[in-house]
């Protein structure tokens, strides 16, 4: 099942491209011209995205480099532990929605220190794979189309992240213990 999925995920992009271009040829679409036209839009979009991303990444970098994020982790850790989240995993739980790169480095560290097949290693793997960087996704998607009022999106995203962390602990305990 996993091998099949890996093969599919390698094949799917080239095959999709082939399919699109074949249909374009059959329907006599000027494929190259249209591609370039759409590509220009992509370039414009990434340029307009830069201020949104830069602002968000700088704010996160300030928070992290000042030590405030670590202090926040220490502050919240006791609460997370009370809910049943192991102390070693707490930093990952807090970092995951904020910074993708930071979360990934914490995950690798946990896997390295405790071993990939330990409870903590499996838990970190599951949490890393089943949640996403909420701040980044909201910044990119809303930023790219110029939405300034995000509504409930951030609130729901963070609640979902929290649920994801708890659910991961329960599932990994249940599946592997």
């Amino acid at each position: 099942m996993v091998e099949a999925m890996t093969v599919i995920s390698i094949w799917i992009v080239p095959v999709t491209v082939m399919f699109i271009l074949l249909v374009a040829i059959i329907k006599k679409v000027p494929a190259y011209e249209v591609f370039v036209e759409g590509g220009k839009e992509g370039l414009k979009m990434s340029v307009s995205l830069l201020p949104f991303l830069l602002g968000m990444l700088v704010a996160i970098a300030i928070l992290r480099s000042s030590g405030a994020l670590d202090a926040f982790i220490q502050l919240v850790e006791p609460i997370l532990i009370k809910v049943g989240i192991p102390a070693e995993i707490a930093p990952l739980a807090i970092l995951r929605p904020i910074s993708g790169t930071a979360a990934l480095s914490v995950t690798s560290e946990i896997i390295q220190v405790y071993g990939p097949d330990s409870f903590l290693g499996r838990l970190a793997s599951t949490m890393q794979g089943s949640t996403d960087t909420t701040f980044y996704i909201l910044t990119v998607y809303f930023g790219a189309v110029g939405i300034k009022k995000m509504g409930n999106a951030l609130k729901i995203g963070l609640i979902a992240d929290f649920i994801g962390i708890i659910v991961s602990v329960i599932i990994v305990t249940w599946l592997f213990m």
């Binding site: 491209v17 992509g42 968000m56 599951t126 794979g129 909201l138 809303f142 729901i156």
Partner: protein, 192 residues
């Protein structure tokens, strides 16, 4: 809300640095963070240019329309505001499938196109209900095969690098369902 959160993140960090003696690191972080954003946008732009180009070809060849029709049974329930057969449906389905196969790269441009189409429907600079539902599903991450994690596990000598696939799928499914549920709950309480 995001305006306050963003400003507070920076202000709290700088004030904390005053007492913590980490002002030098913060000074450095201002430039590092900016650099990181530029690097990120450059790598993102290659993906955006390629996929938005491809998507435009697919659109002109009528593939997207067919995809939107295919998506109707699934997407119309989740996004009742989107008229049936609207291009937004095709892009939403494309984004979900790319996410499922772990093609984070290709998923982003399709997701942005979906957002653009949803903005055309709502014609407002406020996030619409369907946009929020769409992003909530995205942030709760619907990857089937977490390739990055498997690679890390392999690197540190795991006996079974892929054994976390089942737990990941289970966790992500429950989270996504919960997120959709909370979204609906908040939406209902808002409209009353």
């Amino acid at each position: 809300m995001i305006n306050v959160i963003w400003a507070l993140m920076a202000v709290i960090g700088i004030v904390y640095a005053m007492f913590n003696g980490t002002m030098e690191e913060v000074n450095q972080a201002l430039f590092d963070g900016s650099n990181e954003a530029v690097t990120l946008v450059i790598s993102l732009s290659s993906v955006l240019i390629f996929w938005l180009g491809m998507m435009r070809v697919a659109e002109r060849a009528g593939i997207l329309e067919a995809f939107a029709k295919l998506a109707r049974p699934i997407v119309s329930r989740l996004f009742p505001e989107i008229p049936s057969g609207h291009p937004a449906m095709g892009y939403i389905l494309a984004n979900f499938s790319a996410n499922l196969f772990g093609l984070g790269n290709a998923a982003t441009p399709m997701g942005i196109k979906a957002m653009e189409e949803m903005k055309k429907i709502s014609q407002s600079d406020k996030a619409s209900n369907s946009m929020i539902t769409f992003l909530v599903i995205n942030t709760s991450s619907i990857t089937l095969i977490p390739t990055t994690v498997i690679a890390i596990r392999l690197q540190y000598g795991s006996q079974a690098p892929t054994e976390i696939v089942a737990s990941t799928i289970l966790a992500t499914t429950i989270t996504t369902v919960a997120a959709i549920f909370i979204d609906r709950l908040l939406r209902r309480s808002r409209s009353h």
